[in-house]
Assembly symmetry: C2
Homo-oligomer: 255 residues x 2
DNA sequence: CAGTGGTCTAGACCACCGA
DNA sequence: CGGTGGTCTAGACCACTGC
């Protein structure tokens, strides 16, 4: 293996150049299921093993590379699986943890344009969007009203799917390879309209969480979502500390 | 400076022993406002500089020690300042960011017992508690109804404070040295009662966040808090990604 | 067994900061 | 200027893994 060139006159540290180089090669799909050892990298780039370790430190901490004593180093299986996260996941997971089976009733599942949503996704107003509207149930009781818009150019392969029992994100990953890796959401407290109360089958004195979410994959907007969650039996729960920051956890068993 | 002993026969790495040793000395209050350099530590413990750096790596990443080129290394000013965090802080900070001045009207501020709250704090039912009830305003508009209980044995020094314009946590830290470092909270969506609507001066069609929080300092329960926040103009906002996890951010300017 | 990563040493040069 | 941390080298020994 010929020695690859690193710039030794510029001011950028060797380990950072090496780290960038390795990230590029990882993105390019090199090293699939096989990653070179520290010695090999040191020789390939003509640097010391210490420098290689410094370059690898962050990659290992970020879980992009798995290396253990004795084992062959590997690239991490799917570093960006990020289907579960956010307030919605927290809410639904707590229901699951309580032993309630969940499923959905698909109300609408088609392709359409929506200027307002398109703008939020950063797209032209007339861009065709896959639209999915579901009523989510826990046990036999309605839990949430869920509406999702995705760019049809990316998401049209999911149109044939049965989303009554499978996760949208799982289906999206399986059919298009797209995995959400970043998102932004806001949570409002609202009083459901009469129509929403009717769909959710809840009393007139029940409030709800209104959650808007914009999700990205590789810095491209992929999903705009609006979900209305019954507030009478479901709550957000979080723990926080100086070291771990703010972390949503599963709610304790419903009152 | 005599060389301090590290165990070179056991299996525990030198850098880990050194790290533990330094943490102990930090907790003991040594190094106040002055921390030894890498060379000094290497000589003091009879190890190489590399080993010292390995031991310091995590301490620096955690922000317990501040070291820069050329500067004298220091211990971080207050590693466990954790007053701001959680949904409440997020909500109030977004109001502040919008340029609205905030203050409180103290409705009640005394010492009493409350069996229900005491239980949640893990205390005997008859334990005296400092009780503070405030109406929080943003501009001249009511924003939240805030009720806090703290064990009187810890918090009685704050009883003389004017909490109309200063933070409870700042006052608590100044008068008792107690700084909250961990907490747990749950957020519900509710419809305010008529009395609460009246206090918050909000319309009948407005929902609210109901937030319960249990805070700790050094693993001891210190605060039980219940806050009711108007839901019409204030929302929780969060960002999340694979690398940074879930992080509450300030809401965008209110609609 | 050969190869892996974890640990450790003893040097070195440099950019940067404060006195 | 002396001392700091950042970077880098060229070694070494070891525990562990898989063949």
């Amino acid at each position: 293996m010929a020695t690859r060139a690193l710039d030794r006159v510029g001011s950028e540290p060797l380990w950072r150049q090496l780290q960038r180089e390795l990230l590029n090669r990882l993105d390019a799909g090199e090293f699939s299921e096989q990653f070179p050892g520290e010695m090999a990298l040191a020789e390939e780039y003509g640097v010391s093993r210490h420098t290689v370790r410094q370059a690898l430190r962050q990659l290992r901490a970020d879980g992009m590379i798995v290396a253990e004593r004795g084992r062959q180093p590997r690239v991490a299986p799917q570093p960006e699986i990020q289907q579960p996260l956010g307030a919605l996941y927290s809410l639904f997971a707590s229901v699951e943890a309580a032993g309630l089976p969940q499923h959905s009733i698909v109300r609408t599942f088609d392709t359409r344009a929506d200027a307002l949503v398109a703008e939020r996704l950063g797209l032209e107003a007339s861009t065709p969007l896959v639209y999915l509207e579901r009523l989510r149930l826990a046990g036999d009781e309605p839990l949430a009203l869920d509406r999702v818009w995705l760019p049809a150019s990316l998401a049209s392969p999911i149109l044939g799917a049965d989303l009554g029992h499978t996760s949208l994100y799982a289906e999206l990953a399986a059919r298009t390879g797209i995995r959400l890796d970043r998102g932004h959401e806001d949570v409002h407290a609202v009083i459901p309209t009469a129509a929403e109360r009717n769909q959710l089958n809840c009393a007139h004195d029940v409030a709800a969480f209104s959650i808007n979410r914009l999700s990205h994959a590789h810095d491209r907007p992929v999903e705009w979502r609006h979900t209305l969650v019954r507030g009478d039996r479901y709550a957000l729960t979080a723990e926080f500390s100086a070291s771990t920051g703010y972390r949503l956890v599963q709610s304790p068993p419903a009152d």
